[in-house]
Subunit: 210 residues, 2 copies
C-alpha cells in the first residue's frame, strides 16, 4: 500500500488554496490518499525571515498578478480577499478539532469550505465566529466547534504540528512530502505528478526484477 | 514580427543558469528571439528584502535539494559551486561590453560560457581574471575584455539596466517578460511555452476574424 501524501498548508496562502482544489485528485490518480496538515505560516516566516508576498516591494505586484493568472490558467474560482493575509489559528484549530471528533472526511470538507469562504466569498475567517459559521454550513454544531477550536489540546496540536513541519523542512506553503521527497509550491504539481507515476511504476515492477 | 523575449538573469542564480540552457530554444520554437539582460540580484534583494536562498534557515536545505533535482529532471549539467553565491558585477559587465563591441551572438556565447564555468566547472567568476579567462576561451581578447569590463560606460549600463528591470517589476531571477507578461522562475517555463503558443495562434488568425 503506497504511503499517504502529506499536504502542509496555511489557510491564508492563495497558492495553498489552489493546491487544496487539486491535491486529492492528484493523489487519487496514483492510488494515494492525502493527509491534510494545517500549519501557521507566520511561525515558519519567523524562522525563514520571509514576509507575506503582497507586502514585499516589487514582488508584491508580481504576486498579485500571478495569483489571478494562476487561478485563470487552472480554472479555479478566486478573488484576492481583503484583508489579506490574515491570522489563521481559528481556522486551523477548527480543522484539527473536527478531525479528532468527526474524522478525516469531515475535517477535509471543512478545510475546503474555509478556503472557499476566504478566497471566493471574501469572508474574513480570522474571526472564530466566521469559522463557526462556515463549519455549521458543513453540518457541524456551532457550540461544539466554538468550544473545540478554543481547546488547549487543539492549540497544542497546532503548535506541535507547525514545529514538526519546520523540523522536517517545510519552508512555505503549499508543501508536499511524498515518499520522503519534498515539494514546495503549487507550480510543482506537474513534477509531483511525474514523481508519483515513477513511484507507481517502480512498485508495479515484479520483486527482484527491477 | 513578434517581439523579443526579455530574459533577466544574474550569473549567480542556479535557476537562471537552468533557464539559460533552454531559453533560446523555447523562443525559437515560437519564432522569437531572446534579449539577454544581466542584472545584479543583490541590488534587487536590497529592495525586496530577500536573501540568497541557501542562506535562509529551512529554505536553504530545500533549495540545495531542489537545485540538484531540477538539474536532474531537465538533464542539465550542474554542480553547486563553492563559494556560492558570488558577486557577479565582472561577469555582467563583460557581457555588456562584449555586446557593445562584438554584437549579440558573441555576448550570448560568453554568457553561456560564464554560466557553465561557474555551475559546471566550479570556477569562481567573481574575479575579473576568471571572467577574462572564460572570455578568451570564447575567442575574445584578454586585454580588451579586462579593460572593457572595467569601463565607466559599462558600469553605468549595468546599474541602469538593473534599475530599469526593478522599475518594470523584475523581482527575482530568472525573469521573463513576453509581450508585457511577466514570469518569474525557471519552473514557469511550461506556462511561458503555453503563452507563446496562444500568442502565435492569435497572430496567425486572419485580421477581423478572431
Amino acid at each position: 500500500m503506497a504511503a499517504d501524501i502529506e499536504f502542509f498548508f496555511d489557510f491564508s496562502s492563495p497558492y495553498a488554496y489552489f493546491a487544496s482544489t487539486q491535491v486529492d485528485a492528484l493523489a487519487a490518480r496514483h492510488g494515494r490518499k492525502v493527509q491534510w496538515r494545517p500549519i501557521l505560516l507566520g511561525v515558519v516566516f519567523r524562522s525563514t525571515g520571509a514576509a507575506p508576498l503582497t507586502a514585499v516591494p516589487i514582488k508584491g505586484d508580481y504576486a498579485r498578478h500571478d495569483f489571478k493568472r494562476t487561478a485563470r490558467l487552472h480554472g479555479i474560482d478566486f478573488n484576492l480577499p481583503d484583508p489579506f493575509p490574515i491570522p489563521t489559528q481559528a481556522a486551523a484549530r477548527a480543522m484539527l478539532w473536527t478531525r479528532a471528533s468527526h474524522g478525516d472526511a469531515q475535517a477535509i470538507a471543512l478545510a475546503k469550505a474555509l478556503f472557499r469562504a476566504y478566497f471566493v466569498d471574501n469572508l474574513d475567517i480570522s474571526a472564530p465566529e466566521s469559522v463557526v459559521k462556515v463549519a455549521v454550513a458543513t453540518g457541524l454544531d456551532a457550540q461544539q466547534v466554538a468550544a473545540g477550536l478554543d481547546s488547549a489540546a487543539v492549540r497544542a496540536e497546532l503548535k506541535a504540528g507547525t514545529d514538526e513541519a519546520m523540523q522536517r523542512g517545510v519552508c512555505g506553503a503549499p508543501f508536499l512530502i511524498v515518499d520522503g521527497e519534498p515539494w514546495w509550491g503549487f507550480d510543482r504539481f506537474g513534477q509531483v505528478e511525474d514523481f508519483l507515476s515513477s513511484q507507481q511504476r517502480a512498485q508495479a515492477a515484479p520483486a527482484g526484477k527491477a
